[in-house]
Amino acid sequence: MNPAVHTQADKRCELAELVAHVREGDCIAIGGGLSWREPMAALRELVRQRIGKLRLVGSAHGIDVDLLCGAGLVAESAESYVGFEQDFGMAPNYRRACESGAVEVRDSCCYTLVQQLRAAIAGLPFMPIRSVRGTGFMALHPEYKTMICPFTGEELVLVPALRPDVAILHAQYGDARGNLCIEGPPVADILFARASKKVIATVEKLVPPEELAEKGVTIPYFYVTALAEVPYGAHPTACYPFHAYDRRHTAEYYRLASEGAEGFHDGYLQPYAYGCASQAEYLEAIGGAAVLERLACWQESPDAWMKLYE
């Protein structure tokens, strides 16, 4: 009934074990946003383990949700945005899955999501919100209710608490106890961590507790179920300061995804997900050290950084 707190002394595990915390049909909150700090290695492991019928909730996402849709693991999407912005445009696998009916479209909005997560975090059945009324989202979400405010007489929307089964995050640093340090925009990761029943995380680097405390704890350990050290676990999305966004790989992803389900399966899923037993094999498959060095060069100069987007 009451959400657990996670206090085991050592939460480190292998990626396969980590991702096994996800069950078929779970409601999943994916951390990061757009091309930033997506837990891609964990999602590729989901693909390998073929854990499906997932119900996704989140704000602005891209290749992460598109990959899961392309692998046929998604039953429902309540994201607020899934696409590649001006970079490449619409998300090919996501579109196909929605338009074919494979994925039930339950689009949401950022603040609605925030309020639903806040309700879960505060142990409340719902949170009020003044917006949403008058939009198509009311019909899309029959679970929303309305009330007349006893203080002002205005109509308010009541959005139910949203407690994801599992939050899947990628952070720069973590310690064995599960404390996580996120540098740069946390996006909705902190809300996801506080609201979800389980939190599993990959980290670029495991560090001693003292070092983590020094860097600053973004997500306290007792929210975190398990974590695995997976360098470049966000690739091809960015995980600064370690590496920038791999636009070249994403372009190839997009080209293959645009070729249709089969082309994507044979051209992308096979070589980069099913065909890679480990993250090490994946890193070889994407080009190995040469590529990783290129993505690390962003700090050298604005020009060097800019070249990564050409």
Binding site: G33, L34, S35, W36, S59, A60, G62, E79, S80, Y81, V82, G83, F84, E85, Q86, D87, M90, A91, Y94, R95, C98, E99, G101, V105, D107, C109, C110, Y111, T112, V114, R118, I129, R130, S131, V132, R133, G134, T135, G136, F137, E154, E155, G184, P185, P186, V187, A188, I190, L191, A238, Y240, A244, Y245, R247, W298, P302, W305, M306, Y309, E310
Partner: protein
């Protein structure tokens, strides 16, 4: 750089200036993801007439950042370099919900006469085309004080079956964000939204404001566009201001600023090839 480039601006640069002109000084303004024209407009406004603008960058929620260049994805450390501070995602939306965000910028694959927008899906009975979705636009369109609507694809296209496809449509298949009247015809004051709704639609053909009834009204056109062209590319009838004007153009210094901030010309990705070729003399 040659004389010509100094003496002219591109359509994109002119549009950026039109959007920048809708931004008041001393307010909190926020842009979403995937909107390079707006990102550049905000930086231009802060650099020129709105130095006290609180510029909140979409996706990173960095406040008053000074990015070295524009990237094609918004949630990138490039875009929040030099930020004075950062907000949490919930803080930005709280600011809007409490009436403290002065302006937001929204676009849509469908835009109706009242400023309702659709970026969710096409198809009435059944889903024909799934669009990326509206992010926080639904919430912000209700809460934010003023909204600038923009699109670089006003010009109607012809689909394979020879049908004209309008961006400014008779009605939206889905209402992602609200304008001045809901699908049921209810006004914003009836709905008791906190914000006042859209006050401009900036397109590559012209600029609309909204009349007292909340209906889009043509207020200005670009030097190379006439009212007839706007009419034939718009899916609904619209009134025209008596004082219809030609859009003001940016100064050469503004154009320099834009080109320096967007060396990769990311903003042109919002425009068709034909539109990108348009130039206006600053002489």
């Amino acid at each position: 750089m040659n004389d010509r480039s100094e003496a002219t601006c591109t359509l994109g640069e002119a549009m950026i200036y039109q959007i920048a002109r809708t931004i008041e000084d001393g307010i909190v303004a926020f842009h979403g993801f995937g909107s390079p024209l707006v990102q550049l407009a905000l930086h231009l406004a802060k650099r020129t007439h709105a130095p006290r603008l609180v510029l909140v960058a979409g996706a990173t929620y960095g406040v008053n950042p000074t990015p070295p260049f524009l990237t094609p994805t918004t949630n990138d450390w490039v875009m929040n370099r030099g930020a004075e501070c950062h907000l949490d995602i919930e803080e930005l939306f709280d600011l809007a919900a409490s009436g403290r965000v002065g302006r937001m910028f929204l676009s849509g694959l469908q835009i109706d006469r009242f400023g309702n927008l659709n970026v969710t899906c096409l198809g009435q009975e059944r889903l024909q085309l799934k669009l990326p979705g509206g992010g926080g636009g639904c919430n912000l369109s209700c809460d934010v004080e003023h909204v600038t609507i923009w699109t670089g694809a006003h010009r109607a296209t012809v689909d394979p079956k020879g049908r004209r496809r309008f961006r400014l449509v008779e009605s939206c298949d889905f209402i992602t964000s609200v304008g001045h009247r809901t699908a049921e015809g209810r006004t914003r004051s009836e709905m008791r939204y906190r914000g006042r709704g859209p006050d401009r639609i900036v397109t590559e053909l012209g600029i609309f404001d909204f009349d007292e009834s909340g209906h889009a009204r043509l207020a200005a056109v670009y030097p190379d566009v006439d009212v007839a062209t706007v009419r034939e590319n718009t899916g609904f009838e619209f009134p025209v201001r008596d004082d219809l004007s030609s859009v003001p153009l940016p100064t050469p210094e503004m154009v320099e600023f834009i080109r320096a901030l967007d060396p990769l010309k990311i903003h042109e990705r919002e425009l068709g090839l034909k539109e990108r070729a348009r130039r206006f003399s600053l002489g």
